[in-house]
Subunit: 226 residues, 2 copies
DNA sequence: TAGATTGTTAATCGATTAACAATC
DNA sequence: TAGATTGTTAATCGATTAACAATC
């Protein structure tokens, strides 16, 4: 079953899944699109559209059965399989992510970390921290699809190229340097294509400050406009 | 000048601004929509639309002048003014953000941090770390519009409510618990409205793993489909 | 002038919303 | 049956893209 769901649909499905897990823990057996929508912050119509898209069927009296729906989304998102990632750049942010408790619940494991100065890395948990020079040989031996990039901005492009050349096809980029996804055949024929998700903390924060720009403004209400 | 730019436009403007800063440092005086688009990864038409929207005018021969454009976007985004935020939750992620070097360049300063156990916080930099119980009194004395939330999921909702009640109107939420923005008058009359940006690391990572789901699949190409 | 770019209008695209028949 | 929900179609909305006249 391939569906080519778009980004927003996938993100919603992840969130439905989390709600369904909690509902299951509470003993729920059925759920209405209405309630699921409330929990995730979307309308019931969107929920039904999404679920129809993944060919989940509901019951016109009782809504959707929690168990099969949970199993279906879980399988679709690959949560039922163990998924591996590496992390490059073990500064403060990188080290924090190595300890991030949320991954385990998603069946995601960071199997190795890399840094220019592994001996200086403060992280002391179970994940091995290797020297960045061993990146290529490691990835030659282990087929890991996804890399998490937490290096300083100035190193981002170089590490990006090395990850591409080593066969990484998905990158979660925390550096301030936005990286562009590579589509197949866009550059050299020999290069893999690669999905990129840029998480730009300062971009989000700048946007937030734009939104709240009217605080202490002339009207004195303390409320932003609109 | 109020423009009510949408989220994506603002995010693009932030990125134009960064490119313009670099161009200025290189001594550029003019820039074409074409080149600016390439640098940011959008089409020239989008750039011109965005710039027209903020009432920046270009020259049909030489493109846009870097200096006034930079000044205009800078002023619009408030980057010419000092902007303050607080941070709640000084675990590994929170501590990493307290040291985040990107904020200074944007004229953003974290003026105080809060934690349930300030004496156990590893961070030792210049930003004061207070006990969470002093949050309300601090915000009563200092008018800080934005809060960065890096608490464990289980604490997210409680701290969210406290920030709302203390007059915070913009929240950058790193907890796994998605928070919903509050629009004016949506709940109690006395409550402020509040903008929220949720940065969900595990959501992004789950999406990335969905995108790369075809690695090692039947065709053996190693390329994801499409 | 000739060529190239801006600024803007129209066309396209996709996603969200509204509406409602089917049906449990 | 009566009421409520699903599944789906049509309408709406907004953003992106294409196209091109204006003009430097």
């Amino acid at each position: 079953m391939d569906l080519n769901l778009n980004r927003n649909t996938v993100l919603r499905l992840v969130r439905y899944l989390r709600v369904l897990e909690q509902l299951k823990a509470l003993g729920f057996e059925k759920i209405f699109s209405n309630n699921l929508g409330d929990a995730v912050g979307v309308t019931a119509a969107v929920v039904r559209k999404d679920l129809a898209q993944i060919e989940a069927v509901g019951n016109k009296r009782g809504g959707y059965s929690v168990d099969p729906l949970l199993a279906k989304i879980s399988e679709l998102l690959g949560k039922d399989r163990r998924r591996e990632a590496i992390l490059v750049g073990c500064g403060r942010l990188g080290s924090a992510l190595l300890d991030y408790p949320g991954f385990e619940n998603d069946n995601i494991e960071i199997v190795a970390a890399f840094d220019l100065h592994p001996e200086q890395v403060a992280y002391t948990g179970p994940i091995p921290v290797h020297h960045i020079d061993t990146l290529e040989s490691y990835l030659g031996q282990h087929h890991v699809p996804v890399g998490i990039l937490t290096v300083p901005d100035r190193a981002a492009n170089e590490v990006f190229e090395r990850l591409l050349a080593s066969g990484i096809i998905g990158i979660l980029n925390f550096s301030g340097m936005p990286l562009k996804p590579r589509r197949r055949g866009e550059y050299d024929a020999g290069e893999h294509c690669c999905y990129v998700e840029n998480i730009s903390i300062s971009l989000e924060l700048a946007n937030l400050f734009y939104l709240v720009r009217f605080v202490d403004s002339a009207d004195g209400s303390g409320y932003p406009a609109q």
